[in-house]
């Protein structure tokens, strides 16, 4: 057993990347400002603070040079209109799965460029506190789409500490959105099950969305297995115009988190079985 453990520990660093497809995961906290408008509720733009929690997971595929990137972000904003007369809250939960075809620049193998499709979904709500006692204080949001994703990474080192700079850009090209008709009530939608003209195909003519994130993962110690500090900035803007209703959700955030690499248990089991054969 002791000999087996020694084999596993000795083999891990050598095999972690190429053969066992390690997972790079990041847990992030985002703080920033946001702007929200939803004319189904009120025509005013609400600006204020934004707090998000994010999780990112990157992994190479078995079929090189493809890799996957999954992002999950939960976002909450509180804003006021420009005269500070009324307040609005918004929440978003966004998941995306991107597949990147990666290539390294011929003149500099520290720069890797990955591009490919992504698919994602988003749910959320907008709630206006001034309208809390009325029939339409809030509206829900459901969007699913597919689009274009690109990730550029640059490896660098500073005084024997290594780091990676990441630029991620994603934009949907087509999808689906749930949007009530201009003056439809949720009473009619839910209690009477009248959902006519609420399901819409989306593309650049009625939904424009851009997500840009610039982050760096900086190893604080020389041992890369210990993980890396993630710092960065993110910008997201999404506007939609369906059924005469216009929405806007934009945010600029500072990102802080931690990136760590792990090897799936199934890969470790393979190592153990390989060692048994060796024995």
């Amino acid at each position: 057993m002791k000999f087996l453990s020694f084999i596993i520990i000795a083999l891990l660093p050598a095999l972690a990347h190429a053969q066992f497809r390690p997972i790079a995961s990041s847990v992030e906290l985002h703080l920033g400002t946001a702007s929200v408008r939803n004319t189904y509720l009120a025509p005013l733009l609400y600006e204020g603070q934004d707090l998000s929690i994010g999780y990112e997971r990157a992994r190479d595929w078995r079929t090189a040079p493809w890799s996957s990137l999954q992002t999950l972000v939960g976002q909450f904003t509180m804003g006021e209109d420009k005269g500070a007369h009324s307040e609005s809250w918004s929440g978003r939960l966004r998941y995306r799965y991107a597949a990147h075809y990666n290539c390294v620049l011929a003149f500099n193998d520290d720069i890797k460029f990955g591009v490919g499709p992504y698919a994602g979904t988003e749910v959320g709500f907008d709630y206006n506190l001034k309208m809390a006692s009325g029939n339409n204080p809030a509206t829900a949001r459901l969007v699913a789409n597919a689009g274009f994703s690109a990730l550029t990474t640059y490896k660098y080192s500073m005084r024997d500490h290594h780091g990676v700079l990441n630029l991620l850009v994603q934009a949907p090209l087509l999808g689906y959105a749930l949007m009530p008709e201009y003056g439809a009530s949720y009473y009619e939608s839910f209690l009477l099950s009248n959902t006519s003209n609420q399901h819409h195909f989306t593309s650049l003519h009625n939904l424009q969305d851009l997500d840009v994130r610039l982050t760096t993962d900086f190893n604080l110690s020389r041992n890369s297995a210990a993980g890396a500090l993630r710092l960065g900035v993110g910008y997201h803007i999404e506007t939609m115009a369906i059924n005469g209703i216009h929405t806007r959700f934009s945010s600029i955030e500072a990102i802080m988190g931690w990136t760590f690499r792990s090897i799936p248990y199934s890969n470790i089991s393979k190592t153990v079985r390989a060692c048994e054969i060796i024995e």
């Binding site: 003056g183 009619e188 209690l191 840009v212 115009a241 005469g244």
Partner: protein, 382 residues
Amino acid sequence: MTLRLLALFHFFTLTLFTFSSCLDDDSMELSDDYLGTFEACWQTLDQRYCYFTEKHIDWDAIHDTYLPYAKDSVENTVQLLSLLDAMLDHLEDGHVNVYAPFNTTRYSSWYDDYPTNYDANLVQQYYLGKNYWTASGMQYGRFGRDSVAYIRYSSFDNAIGPTNLDFVLAALHGSNGLIIDVRSNGGGSLSNVPTLAERFCTGKTLYAYISHKTGKGHDDFSSPEPLYLEPAEPGRISWDASTYPVVILANRHSYSATNNFVQAMLALDGTLTTDSLGQQYPKMIKMCGDRTGGGSGMPFESVLPNGWPIRFSACPMLDKDRHSTEYGIDPSPGLKVDMDSTTMIEDHKDDIIEAARRYIIEHTRAERCEPKDDDDPQNTDD
């Protein structure tokens, strides 16, 4: 190849970055000064109010009439609210309000200009008395002299619990008929309407239509969606209106959800109930008192640039014959009754309740119920 892809990607990103706010509409975000608030109020209603055509209102002309005052005469928020109040009065709609921190605009002529036809003290002292019971916002009892049941429901904001309603109807079982008094009930939650009305329903019954705006034009509406009443779920206590007549009491202050409730109940009148022997009898559900106040447009809200909420009728509701009930529903034939002040003061009688009692006694098919003992906690009078 990689460089070309990089260049293309950056061009695409910059293009999206530049145009990604094109779909946002800030045209209605006016300034929060007096003129901007006036324009936003007018514009919100212009795009979202649902009764311009039905009420023959020239909203553009009204804008032109009041704009000079908004530009030159308004000097403080009190004057601004007064100006908005005057403009909104043209809509003649109790569902249109602007809520300032110090006052609320309102149109009340739909009941102010008519007899009140309800005296809460009279009902409390001489009809409900001290022995009434109360559940889910309903005060109820039975008039001992003629064994007519009585429910007073003062607001549809009071949630009706299904189990509470079971107990209410079970307690009143055995009466010759039922009076449901919704006079001066200004409305509330629409969801309470079917909760109460379904207890009188024995089969799926069309009672109303609802539509909504599909665009900013004054005539941009969806196709009317039918609303049906269905019988209460099995196990719930219902009321047999084909044997024990039901009379709804209403006045000019019966508004909004109350108007919708009266509409739903009257849609059940005449529909057939099949008894245990297979015989069919029409339900007897009538309305007694005065025309209701109307208010059939489901209201929405928005917010003006200065932070004042504004409420307005947004989704018109029609009766089962697709007629508008925005201006109210008339009492059943022969049951238009106004309260007489002399009767009230000298005889302590509510003429509308008395008319309803007479109707019930004349039409009930129940084996005539004997007056209950004085010890019966349900007895509330005589």
